[in-house]
Amino acid sequence: MRSGERTWLFPAPPVIVATGTVVGPDEGEGPLASDYDLVHPDMELQQPSWEKAERLLLEQASDIAVSKAGLKKEQIQFYVGGDLLNQIISSTFAARSFGAPYIGVFGACSTSMESLALASLMVASGAADTVMAGTSSHNCTVEKQFRYPTEYGSQKPPTAQYTVTGAGAAIVAKAGSGPRVTAATIGKVVDLGIKDPFNMGAAMAPAAVDTIQAHLQDTGREPGYYDLIVTGDLAGVGHPIAAEILERNGVPMEQTLFRDCGLMVYDVAKQKVQAGGSGCACSAVVAYGHLLKRMAKGELKRILVVATGALLSPLSYQQGETIPCVAHAVAIEADASLEGKEA
């Protein structure tokens, strides 16, 4: 199953049988609004705290995924999840109400693909038949924990990013119909010395490059194998940097489309989101909502989602530490393309 240095190639690729995506109002005003299962008109969700609102987003995304898969909660054998809050409380508290055996993971904003990779590995290795991967983020919980109080008046620099309010869950099963997870590449922690927490795109770009190159080398594929290679939340500053380094390193990215979820989730020119979107939910809602819908329509056959995460804490940057980053890549292929490949 392991191919090359750090890629899992799944001989019997697990199927993403259903996904659930829930977002907040800003994402609902974005260009992908029609691709989400549920759009909330406000950030509070009638909850007494931001943290409870985020938890509810994840609970709703999980419930939607389960019902779309035509399953009952009890049939989910394991739940792999994580989020950005201290002690990953959104996903653990959501797991409390969900009830499935739970594995908590933390990869900052790369948690979406980290959890999907692990869920797929569990299914592909026979450790389980049905596993759910889920993650969430909320703009206000993140502002509160990592930056300033939400209503504090400070000017954000143009390199800052706007955390996506939302949650995404995917149910990975041994059999069924839907796109298949054919490979996953686990990222190394890369740190090239960026300290500015308002410039996470630049901090994370080298991690994305490292994982993309590792994936291509481990699988022997060229970028052109994929219709789309999409990074998680490098946004307006980090994504061009990643593209430039890939070009310098001789990776022929021109063979494919190279995009970023943080630039897709909002209308960056119109919405006041500085460089673009970020957060665990950024890659989760774009991949599980928008991209898988496009795959179902046949517009995309093979995609590589490279979710990027900045593994800092408020404590580490206050102590002057640089920002370590990681990126995890998951290859998703439409059912039809697999059949085509066999022929």
């Binding site: 209503e151 400070s154 954000k156 390199t159 740190d191 630049a202 080298p206 490059v209 080398q217």
Partner: protein, 162 residues
């Protein structure tokens, strides 16, 4: 399979040192418009002061106060306006546009305290509001007092009286 072998190890590794990368990334940051920010800060900061002046004139005219007497109620009104705008969720939006203009002492200070108090209300009155209210504003007070202490010493040493 031939392509597979050809591809392995074909790409250059990520070889920049942190120092090189920092310079590389710095060159690719969008420029911050210092001039535009200065103009905006000047206009909004001036506008806040103008409003304050208007409030003070009002107290002087309506309640026959002198300039000194009108000072305290003016500050109270400016704090109130800042807190109301913070609670309505517009102060942060004005600040994103105005930059340093909204950091004018009284209104900016009120916003720093009020926003922290609102944010941590969910953790209770004592450990939430009470403990976090000075989270941002506290350092202003600490360094303000320390600075005042040293200025006071200099003042005394120069024999300026007091």
């Amino acid at each position: 399979m031939a392509t597979k072998e050809a591809q392995r190890g074909a790409y250059k590794p990520l070889s920049m040192s942190p120092k090189e990368y920092k310079a590389f990334a710095k060159n690719r940051e969008p420029a911050r418009s210092v001039f535009k920010n200065c103009v905006r800060a000047f206009v909004i900061g001036g506008l806040v002061c103008l409003i304050g002046q208007g409030v003070q004139q009002f107290f002087m005219a309506a309640f026959h106060m002198n300039e000194r007497q009108a000072g305290n109620p003016t500050v109270a009104v400016m704090i109130l306006i800042s807190v109301i705008l913070t609670c309505l969720g517009v102060y942060d939006k004005i600040a994103q546009w105005a930059g340093a203009g909204t950091a004018v002492p009284v209104t900016g200070f009120a916003n720093a305290m009020c926003s922290a108090a609102i944010e941590h209300r969910s953790e209770g009155l004592v450990l939430g509001v009470g403990a976090n209210m000075f989270k941002l504003a506290g350092s202003v007070i600490v360094f303000g007092v320390v600075a005042a202490f040293f200025v006071g010493i200099v003042h005394w040493l120069l024999g300026l009286g007091g």
